[in-house]
Structures are given as C-alpha cells and as structure tokens.
Symmetry: C2
Subunit: 116 residues, 2 copies
Amino acid sequence: MKHINYKDIPPIQMENDQVKHVAGRLLIGKEDGASNFTMRCFEMGPGGHTPRHTHEWEHEVFVHQGHGQVLLDDTWHDMSPGSVVFVPGNVEHQFRNPTDSTLTFLCLIPSGPPEL
Amino acid sequence: MKHINYKDIPPIQMENDQVKHVAGRLLIGKEDGASNFTMRCFEMGPGGHTPRHTHEWEHEVFVHQGHGQVLLDDTWHDMSPGSVVFVPGNVEHQFRNPTDSTLTFLCLIPSGPPEL
C-alpha cells in the first residue's frame, strides 16, 4: 500500500551522450510489491531528450504536464497534457522537449527490465 | 503503436448502486497489443465514488487533475494532482470525490481482469 505525491520522491538526474535534461522517479515498483508492472515519472527540461533506441519491452505513456514530442516509425508526433502513447516492444522511439518549459510524463513498463 | 489524447476516446458512463458519477476510458489495452498491463482513465464528478471492494489484482493510480480521496485500510487519504497510489491485490479500497470539481485519474491493472 502506498500513497504519496510523485514530487515527494527525490528525482534521479540522467545526463549522458544519449540522455539530456531528464530527471526520473520510480513511483511504484517491486519494493512496493508491484510484481507485474512499474510506474515511473520523467521530467524533461527544455531541449531535453531520451535515447533513440529499441528494446523488447513496451511503454505505456501518459503526459501529465507540458508539451513534447515522441518519435515513432521515423515520425515525430506532438504530445500535450493528456496525451497517451503506446510504444510496443521492438519499436524504435525517442522522446524530446523542444519547448521552453518542463515536460512531465508517466512511462510504465512491465516488470523485468531495470525499473529506472 | 498509438498516440492519442485521452479525451479523444468516448467515455463510458458508469452508474449503479456501487458506482456514482464515474466515466471510464480504456486508454491502452489488448486491442493495442498491450499484453502485460492495461491503462484506464476515470473522470469522477462531484459526489462520485467507486465501489468499496476487494479483488485479487493490484491498482497503480496517478491523479492527473482534481482532488479526491482513496480508502485504504479503513482510512481515507487525500489525493491531489500528482498523487500516486498503489493498491495491492486483496486490499479493500474505494475512491470518492467530495469536492465540487471533476477528479481525473489513471488506474492501471495487470492484464487478465476486465479491462474497464
């Protein structure tokens, strides 16, 4: 059982060649007893992006605040609050924030891969 | 692959002895190829509530907009935008909206139970 606000969880900053201006939070995972799927939240600053990559597991995404874009099938699609994105396994994808404010989105994955 | 806004999906109104003023939307499910877990969104009007019930599967909840409350372990906990709730399987729970505006929250479940 767990009831918190996502902002109460300290964000983990992610910065490398592939990831820019992204802070991740593990909201619900195995330590909470969630054995089927994992809820993460990402805040992406202006100019930020995730890797352009492919993996076996799917993403279920929901945009909470801000605007950004997702690459699917070589096409960039706009995202805004309330946007829902399903990225099946083995589909190349990337998220980016070309705006001047923070993009906040949930990205859920099945259990198994690294949780964050 | 799917990219929509949740508001583009027609809501299904839910009204019976146990459920009041709730509209549900299946955002990502089996028809999309999501075989591990299911994303649903619920809008709950003022005075609305879900059943007080227990079932084997878990809920992973995120509040997108509005305020409400969740019953866990016989205690009501406040929810606001950004609230995260994990309801493990077999834990009695209920959601309600004692405010005068709409509560909008995601509630994800593992695949298997009815999707909505």
